[in-house]
């Protein structure tokens, strides 16, 4: 039995960029040889979930009824433990196959067959371990929600307005490709008729927030603007804000309740007697969330009440996003000496037209297929990479937390 201490996980974090294969930790317990591409501490945690699950099962055997929160937790536990069991099974398969390899006077054709099979099982093992890793991380709040994408031009003048429109089209096409229903909630065109001053896209698909939140940040474009006659490349930018959509529905347990005084609601209306004296419909509403200072103004509808409802939906989304950012920042803080790689104020991606290149600065991915990205077809490749990088970073956080606790 060989045992290789491959301590990638304990090292500096930049080494996490190593591929999963090289980051594989060889780990053995008793007669099992684990060849699991997962940090031993995470494996240990997964194993401990088994005991937790058993406790739950005992409770249920005793006739205890689980509350909705517990039953959610129970489902998640079951899923994690299933994955862990599957990993054990796959590891056993590998070790059995390896025995074939080490047998004396083994038939060479059998050896090559076994080697091939080992490769297949290893690939499956890697996928399962990756899934388990995601399951072990604390869940991202609201990731099962629909989302709102707000787009705004940044530096770069009119070119930024045009780029903002390009991004909106990219997301609409992406939704069409995935079969997600979307709706342009608001859109203000640039006075020239080309480009946008702002736009908000609602993606109604539940779970779209979990995916699209990776698009949040500053997107940078480098190209020769249509308006540039000397052929110089300009750099401009657009900001993408992604918010989870939360309805004003009191039946929803995740809906936040506001304390008296927490909200300040201003309705824009000329002072005076009001009531029967006045029939103008100045229905604009401004809601201020006093503790955070977040302000939402809406005047799209003729009904004050509907404007108020719309404003509340947006306010709830903004607060949820703020909450999530704080949670992630807290997780990051637990990692010592680590500069955050997902800082939202940074530019996250560059679209370079002269080189037909797209680079995502968070995961270091570069694709030479700008058109494929902008028509939504290859956006998934980028988001997959960014999501995987985030999982890696968060797994590192979790490991350092487990370490500091033990």
């Amino acid at each position: 039995m060989k045992r290789i201490a491959f301590s990638v996980w304990g090292g500096a974090v930049h080494r996490f960029r190593l591929s999963h294969l090289s980051a594989r930790a060889f780990y053995s317990t008793n007669k099992f040889e684990f060849v699991v591409p997962l940090h031993p501490l995470l494996l240990q945690k997964a194993k401990s979930l088994r005991d937790e699950l058993r406790e739950f099962e005992n409770k249920m055997l005793n006739g205890e009824v689980l509350n909705p929160n517990d039953s959610k937790h129970f489902n998640s536990l079951t899923h994690s433990v299933d994955l862990y069991d599957q990993i054990e099974k796959l590891v056993k398969e590998i070790s059995e196959l390896q025995e074939i390899l080490t047998e004396k006077d083994q038939d060479p054709s059998l050896i090559s067959e076994a080697e091939l099979e080992i490769k297949g099982v290893e690939a499956e093992l890697e996928k399962t371990a990756e899934n388990l890793k995601v399951k072990l991380l604390p869940p991202i709040p609201y990731s099962d929600r629909p989302c709102l994408i707000e787009l705004r031009p940044g530096a770069g003048g009119h070119e930024a307005n045009i780029f903002t429109e390009d991004l909106l089209e990219m997301y609409i096409k992406y939704c069409q490709l995935r079969g997600w229903a979307s709706n342009i909630e608001s859109k203000t065109e640039h006075s020239s008729g080309r480009g946008l001053v702002e736009a908000t896209l609602l993606i109604k698909q539940p779970g779209s927030y979990g995916r699209m939140r990776h698009e949040a940040g500053v997107h940078r474009v480098q190209r020769i603007p249509e308006t540039e006659n000397k052929g110089r490349v300009h750099t401009s930018a657009a900001a993408v804000v992604v918010l989870p959509q939360i309805e004003n529905n009191n039946a929803d347990p995740e809906v936040r309740k506001f304390k008296p005084g927490e909200l300040k609601i201003d309705v824009m209306r000329a002072s005076g007697s009001g009531g029967q004296h006045v029939n103008t419909t100045e229905s604009a509403v401004r809601i201020t969330h006093v503790p955070t200072g977040i302000t939402v103004s809406i005047q799209d509808e003729r009904s004050q009440l509907r404007n108020r409802e719309k404003a509340m939906i947006i306010l709830r989304s903004r607060l949820a996003e703020l909450e999530l950012n704080e949670k992630l920042a807290k997780e990051r803080e637990q990692r010592t000496g680590q500069v955050s790689s997902v800082d939202r104020s940074d530019k996250i991606r560059t679209y370079n037209f002269p080189q037909n290149r797209l680079t995502d600065h968070r995961c270091g991915l570069t694709l030479y297929d700008l058109e494929g990205c902008l028509n939504g077809e290859r956006l998934d490749d980028v988001i997959d990479k960014v999501a995987a990088k985030e999982v890696e970073d968060r797994a590192a956080d979790l490991i350092s937390t487990i370490k500091s606790q033990s």
Binding site: S271, G274, Q276, V278, N279, T280
Partner: protein, 245 residues
């Protein structure tokens, strides 16, 4: 959006002449309802929408079935808004004006998918000498409440209201609250909510109803907007009041 392009120019001209936007577009949203508007019938106000929505929250939680009478119903907005609640079983709404009753019935049809309770619109004059005894739980009314002397620009009434909305739905004062109090004394009501424009109208109502607990509700612009009253079982209405009388 709400008007075809070829009517935009005309609409702008009309609006410049102070024609109310609701008469030009022909409608006003009211809570979840869409209320048709026509010259000759008072336009539903934001303030009315506001107290109706607030009242719905209270009525919805009343454990018993609730029946409603709405006087001076106009477009029918208050009555129809109550008809969206599932524990309201019967609504009778009165108006003195035939054209208002016609419009109210059209609004009933227009919003029928949102309504849970039948509403009957009937002719009735609040100021008549004798009323039949009304058997219902909740009495609502948005009677004319601008005193004659205030029905001008100095009195805070907008040009558009003075020029285009029906005077009969606007000009009135304590006499209407006296009549409403009479309905309460002879009927079987347990609670009432009336819209008001002046504090005296609330004080007057309370004076006529010594046996009732009464309060004043202020709207979101800080103006007095309702006088609210209740018997024991409807204590929940207290939450609508900013001040008890």
């Amino acid at each position: 959006m709400e008007l075809p392009v070829d009517r935009w120019a005309g609409a702008v001209e009309e609006r410049a002449k102070h024609v109310p936007l609701q008469y030009i577009l022909g409608s006003q949203p009211f809570g979840e309802l869409n209320i048709k508007c026509r010259p000759g019938v008072l336009i539903p106000r934001n303030e009315t929408e506001e107290w109706c929505e607030r009242l719905k929250e209270v009525v919805e939680k009343i454990p018993d079935k609730v029946s409603v009478v709405d006087y001076c119903t106009g477009t029918g907005c208050v009555a129809l808004s109550m008809a969206t609640l599932s524990n309201v079983e019967k609504i009778t709404a009165f108006d003195i004006d035939e054209s208002a009753l016609r419009l109210a019935r059209e609004n009933l049809k227009l919003n029928k998918d949102l309504l849970q309770t039948p509403v009957s619109f009937e002719k009735g004059n609040l100021l008549q000498e004798k009323h039949p005894k009304l058997a219902a739980t909740l009495l609502l009314s948005n009677p004319p409440y601008i005193p004659e002397k205030d029905f001008n620009l100095q009195g805070g009434v907008e040009q558009s209201v003075l020029l285009y909305e029906p005077r009969s739905a606007l000009v009135g004062d304590l006499e209407f609250y006296t009549a409403l109090a009479e309905l309460l004394r002879t009927g079987s009501f347990k609670a009432f909510v009336f819209e008001i424009g002046y504090r005296e109208q609330a004080l007057h109502t309370k004076k006529l109803l010594p046996a009732w607990t009464c309060g004043i509700r202020t709207d979101s612009h800080g103006n007095v907007r309702n006088v609210v009253g209740w018997q024991q079982e409807w204590n929940a209405l207290r939450s609508m009041c900013d001040e008890l009388l």
